[in-house]
Each structure stands twice: as C-alpha cells, then as structure tokens.
C-alpha cells in the first residue's frame, strides 16, 4: 500500500483517539473543578493545559478552560483540532474508507466546526462530541477489513492511547484532589466501573497501577502495548517492509508491563515515563520504517 495512505490511516487512528480521550478528560476534569474546590480553580486549569501541551494564557475559570481545550481547528492538540486533523486524513484516503466511517467522522467534525452550543453546559456539549466519536470507533470496528490499513490505524490508536493515559496520569488528580481525584481519573479513562469490580479500594496508588498495569482493561498502558504489538505482527503477516525495530520497541514495552512486579510508589512513575518514551520511540520508528524510509528522495529547496 502507498506510504502516504498508510500514514493517513495511522494518523486517523491517532487523532480520533486523541479527540476522544481529550474530550473525556476535559469533561471529567471540568466536573471535578466544579464539584471540588479544594484547590484554586486557576491551578486546576493550568495542570490540565500543561498535561495537554496547550498554552496557558491566564486561564482561570473552568468555563474558559473548556473553550481553550475544545479549541480550534488549527491546533491538533485541542479537540476540534484533532477531529479536524482526523477528518483531513480521512479525506485523503476516502476511497479506502468505508462510507459509514467517513460519514461518522464528518458529522463529528461538522458538529464541532459549527461550534459547540455553549448555551448548554460544557458537560452536556462534550457528551455530544464524545457520542459521535464513539460512533466512528463503532463503525470502524464492524466495517473495516482486518487488512494492512486497519493494522496501521490500530497501531496509531494504541500508541496515542498510551500517550493519553500518560498525560492523564501526569495531572496527579490523586494529589491535588485527594478525596475525589482518584475516582475522577478513573472516570476520565472510562475505568471507574472496571476498577471497582476489581474490589480494590480507590486510592491514588492503586488507581495508577490499574491504569498502567491492568491485564484486562483495554485502556491500561499494558493492554495498549499488547494491542500495538498485535498490530505490528499483523502488519508483518501482511508482508510490510522490515519492522523488526518497531516490533522490538512495542514488544519490550509490553513484556516489561506484563511481567512487572507490583510496583511501589516510585516505580509506578518510572513505568509511566518509560511507557510514554517507548510509545514515542515506536512512533518515530513507524515513521522511519514505513513512511519516510531511508533512501527516499526528498525534494527540498
């Protein structure tokens, strides 16, 4: 398949995941700022902006925070930007996508470009965006053949997911809002019910361990690494060019998380950092192996 097409699939997976995870995180974080005023609102805003690598121009209220993180089409670190970038990639590969997938994505994009209805509360508006993104994922799941394109998309999604879980954990909800923060972090990852089923008490450390190391929850870093590894193996079965370095990267991350001893407080932070670094290296490696192979002639002037 064309490198350009593969690259668009890869980034489609990443941006849809980024938009969804950011919207979920913003909705929960906003609710937390409203419900629990144990730290100043401006601080609560800045920790989220920092975690999302967004500029903080004196955002001091939860309402302003929503505007900034929903953002504009120009910045792919914002929700509107990520959806717009996902759609831009989808447009370039429209012929290879199912019509349903494109439609679902397009309607999410249109909803955002018309502007979130700020007459309603942010929670209500964000829920609408989330719903549309869930439709995208659902349609992909039941219409896309499990071919090379699909594996590139899943690989992108899983690497982004590791990155987003890392950003979520970087906020330290558990330290800033000791009573309601850990549950909010779980909700932001859609993990509250799965965590509670595990029978552990909600506390900062167990929540962090769960989001990094849990074997069955699909958004834990460990599950993401395993799914990324499967995607790379899937690509190899389809006969793509040499990807052994990439496989090594995701496979090592997966086994490190899979065979980890139950880590103490400091170790879990190390795991989080390592996972995010590995995800970045894997992203670079995808780029080098498939999209910008050594020896490609590049026109520059």
């Amino acid at each position: 398949m064309l490198s350009r097409i593969a690259e668009s699939f890869f980034w489609l997976g990443r941006y849809v995941e980024r938009a969804e995870a950011t919207a979920r995180l913003l909705a929960e974080h906003h609710q937390l700022l409203v419900e629990d005023q144990s730290i100043p609102e401006a601080t609560g805003c800045s920790v989220l902006l920092e975690a999302l690598s967004l500029p903080n121009n004196d955002v001091s209220t939860a309402q302003e925070l929503v505007r900034v993180v929903v953002g504009s089409e120009l910045d792919p670190s914002t929700i509107a930007g990520a959806v717009s970038a996902a759609r831009a990639n989808a447009r370039a590969i429209r012929d290879s996508l199912s019509q349903d997938t494109f439609e679902a994505l397009n309607s999410a994009h249109l909803a955002l470009s018309r502007g979130i209805a700020f007459t309603s509360s942010p929670g209500v508006a964000l829920h609408r965006v989330l719903e549309r993104l869930l439709v995208v994922n659902g349609v992909v799941d039941w219409t896309m053949p499990r071919d090379e394109a699909y594996h590139f998309m899943v690989l992108g999604r899983e690497l982004e997911r590791i990155d987003m879980v890392g950003r979520l954990l970087a906020i330290r909800h558990d330290l800033l809002w000791p009573s309601s923060g850990p549950a909010a972090a779980l909700r932001a990852a859609g993990a509250l019910s799965p965590f509670l089923r595990s029978g552990k008490p909600i506390n900062g450390l167990d929540v962090r361990r769960f989001l990094v190391l849990d074997a069955t929850f699909p958004r834990s870093m460990r599950s993401c690494a395993a799914d990324a590894e499967d995607a790379v193996r899937g690509l190899q079965r389809q006969g793509v060019s040499d990807s052994s370095l990439l496989l090594r990267e995701v496979g090592m991350l997966r086994s490190e998380l899979e065979y980890a001893r139950i880590p103490a407080v400091n170790d879990i932070e190390k795991f989080i950092d390592e996972a995010r670094e590995a995800s970045q290296r894997a992203g670079d490696e995808v780029n080098r192996s498939f999209f910008r192979q050594h020896g490609t002639i590049v026109w520059s002037h």
């Binding site: 064309l2 490198s3 350009r4 690259e7 890869f10 980034w11 906003h30 609710q31 409203v34 419900e35 005023q37 144990s38 730290i39 100043p40 401006a42 601080t43 920790v47 920092e50 975690a51 690598s53 001091s60 939860a62 309402q63 792919p76 670190s77 970038a85 831009a88 990639n89 370039a92 309603s120 509360s121 942010p122 929670g123 209500v124 990155d163 950003r167 970087a170 906020i171 330290r172 330290l175 800033l176 009573s179 309601s180 549950a183 019910s193 509670l196 595990s198 029978g199 552990k200 008490p201 909600i202 995010r276 670094e277 970045q280 992203g283 910008r292 490609t296 002639i297 590049v298 026109w299």
Partner: protein, 530 residues
Amino acid sequence: MTVTPFDEMLLDGGRPRTTHAAMFETLDGLGAAGLSERARQRDAYLDRHGITFTLGERERPLPMDLVPRLITSGEWQRIEAGVIQRLHALEAFLADIYGPGQVLADGLIPRSLVTTSTHFHRQAWGIETPNNVRIHVSGIDLIRDEAGDFRVLEDNLRNPSGVSYVLENRRTLAHVLPEVFTHHRVRSVSEYPERLLDALRAAAPTDIAYPTVVVLTPGVHNSAHYEHAFLARHMGVELVEGRDLYCRDNTVWMRTTSGPEPVHVIYRRIDDDFLDPVHLRPDSVLGIPGVINAARAGRVTIANAIGNGVADDKAVYPYVPALIRYYLNEEPILPNVDTYDLSDPEQREWVLGRLDRMVVKPSDASGGYGLVMGPWATDEQLAQAAVDIVAHPRGWIAQPVVTFSTCPTVLEDGRMAPRHVDLRPFAVNDGTNVYVLPGGLSRVALPEGSLVVNSSQGGGSKDTWVIDDGSADDRHAVTEAPEPTAGAAVPWPVTVVPKRDNSPTSHDDRIVQQERQQQQSEAPQGSISC
C-alpha cells in the same frame, strides 16, 4: 394555613439571605428560559444514565430540582451532633430490648408498646452483633419548623433509601448547571460508598480477616433497585438475590461459576419479613432459609440487623427524647415534633375532637402510605380515620400539622416558586465512629402547598450542600481541605510532559496551497516532503 413557613433562601420581601445571595443572582441571571433549557438537559441526563426509581410498573427519573439547598456549616454541626446522639440512644435501646430489657423493667416505655410493634421480632432476641452495631445505616428525617429550627420527624432504621440520589444529584447538577457552584465551597459526598464498605467490613464476624460483603436486593422490580445496583457497583461488591445464596452448616454461601463461596456480611435491602422463610414469612421466595440461625451462630452479619423496626415505630418515637436522657444522660440536641399517643384515652379523645387539624400516620408504615392530612382530607376520610383509630389505637399516631420550611423550586415553565422540603441525613455506624454524609437527601413536595415529600407520593429531590462558610464553632472540625488562596501560585506536583507528535502532512501549507492550484488536474501523488 395561617402560619408562614420558614423560607430558606428568601427573607420576607423577597430578598435573598446573605448566604444565598450569590446563588440567587446566578439563577436570576439565567432567567426562566435559561432554567427551562437546563431542566431539559437535566431530564436528558437522568434518562440517559438510567437514574430512576420504579413506581408501580413504571421506571422514572427521580425529579431533581435545579436549585440546590444550602446548609451552613454551623447548622450542619448541630444536625450532625443531634443525629449521632440519637443513634447512640437508639442503638442502646435495641441492644437493651433484644437483650436484658432493663428499659422495660424500669418502666420507661410500656412493655406492651414494644411487644405489639409489628417490627419487633422475637426471633432476633439474643442475637449478638460482632461490633455491637445494629443500625449500620440510618436515615433520620428532619424538618425545619416555622422558626427555622431543625426537628426530627421520624426515624428510619431499617432500609432507608435515597443515598444514591444524593450522589447522583451532585454529579447531575455539576453537569448541567456548573455556574451555581462558583461561589461556594461545598463539602463532598463522594466518599459515601467507601465509608459504607468500611462499616460493613467492620461488622463482619470477628474471626474473618478478609470478609466478603454482598448487597442483597429483592430484584429488578423493586422500587429502589437502581440504588441497590449503585451501591454494589460503587463498593465493588456482588449484588445478589436470595436465590444466589444458601445456608449450610450455619454458613451462608454464594453460588458462583467457580463453586460455592462463603459470605460474611449481607447488606440486605429486603424487609425483615422476607429475609428468612424458616423463621419469618414462610412464603417468602426472596430470602435465604436459615440465615437467621447463621447470624445467631455468629457466622454472618445481617446489616441492618433484624428487628430494628421496633425502634423506628412511630409509636415509640415520642419516647426517644426520654431514651436519650435514659441511656446517655444528655439533653436531646434535635427536638421531636409534638406527637399524641392514641393508646392514651385522654389524648385520643382530644385528638379525635380536632382531627381536621392533625396529621394521622400509621405507626408501622413508611413511604407516606396511609397518611391522613387533616386540613386537606375529605369528611369521609376523616370519619374513616376516626373509626380506624378507635378500632386500633396502637396502630396510629397523631401530630399537629407542622408547616415545614420552603425552598425556591423551578416549575415546569422555568419560574421559581417556594416548595416544602425535608431532609434525610444518612449516617453510617462502623462501631467506632458514626459518619454522617454531609447534606443528605432533601425531598421536595412538588405540588403547590403540599407537605408530602415521599418519592412514592410524587416528591422530588434537591442537591443539598453543606457549605464551609465559617459559621461552625470549630472550623477544623468541619473542614480539612486547605483554604484556597485565589490567584496565588500554589505548588503542585511537577510532571514533565513531552512535546506532542503531530502528523506532518496535514498541516503542510505548501501542499495545501499547491493542491488547491491544481483544481483542474489530478492531485500530484509524488513523495514531496519536508
């Protein structure tokens, strides 16, 4: 009614109290149209989340009003102390009548009153609870009288429900109307499930290191099934029905795919009568045959304990202030509402002469069933009540109509009008401490002038805030969170977040520009890159 109720938000003349001024302004700013729109979003939210209770055949959302109810930390301190005091006395009372019976021997309360209570179960006599707790969870209903003072309306020591709505109301309100939170520091309610689980574990048989706790529900057709599922989910424990459990050798077992597993604490949300067909209603298909024997053998803890209903019997209620003095040697912090004992001939005659000014309640019912509100009742209803009282005086109590407080409430058209509210603070006793959930469930009587707040009678609810306003005697007793210093830099844990990866092609302006220039021709497919 000639008595003016106490309005919690507005003073005479329509100006808000200082504690409520900021919220009043926010609501006023939204206007009727804004509030109607938010009400629509609230309904959508409640429907989507399936936050419902079942009335008859129908599942419907518990109507939550958009205007929260405020309780200052000073008021709360008194409520909390009063609830804890009352619980200690009632625990002592239950331990006494299901044990030595000293209070009966001393003649403080007539023995016949206790033994004729529908909820007094001889089967529970002599059962000892591992940590001496019988009232693990309680919901003591309070009202505010004309002077604004909180009084106890009734005790609920069996299966008080509604706590899930307290937690959901907070989330719902923060979701659809975040603006109102801006000017207040509201004490969190989110730790309730954790506190409940701790208390249930603390109640386990003493030789069990890692007790298995379950929530026992009558099933999906019960009006409070939503709450049962909510509590099980948030505690991370199994929600079971009677048929999932069985007793063998005085141990309760749960049927699982990996074989039988022992159960140590049953937080049961089914009534006493249905709990054990061996000892109680033999036709019950909801219970577990033999569970009372297992409890007596100390192999399982039933929470709340069997037979608690005798202490929240409405005919026992008038004696509670005396019980507080008797067991604790203290004066009651929260007073009762005046209540007439209809088994006393003199009081009965007096009440029968003025039934149209009385509220008559069946002494053993809850949920507002069987209530006769004198001033609003028809002549036939009053005549029937008189007949019932004469036929079975023990079955009824009478109280003067108390005009309890009002709060502004959003009507269907978005306007606000005063509606009567009560308050049910939930308390959890782990044997060492009593935790009173800050706020509790405020139920609101939605029809104009109505004083009946029960959800089974069409009542709604309000998010209830205990606000840290410095009015408590000892600030540190009510707030542990640090004082916010607006605008000042507060250090927070620093985490280095690496730069973000973005796709290179989607924002390459030159490609976009050149693609656009090629409108008539095919877009180039070459590997131009930078």
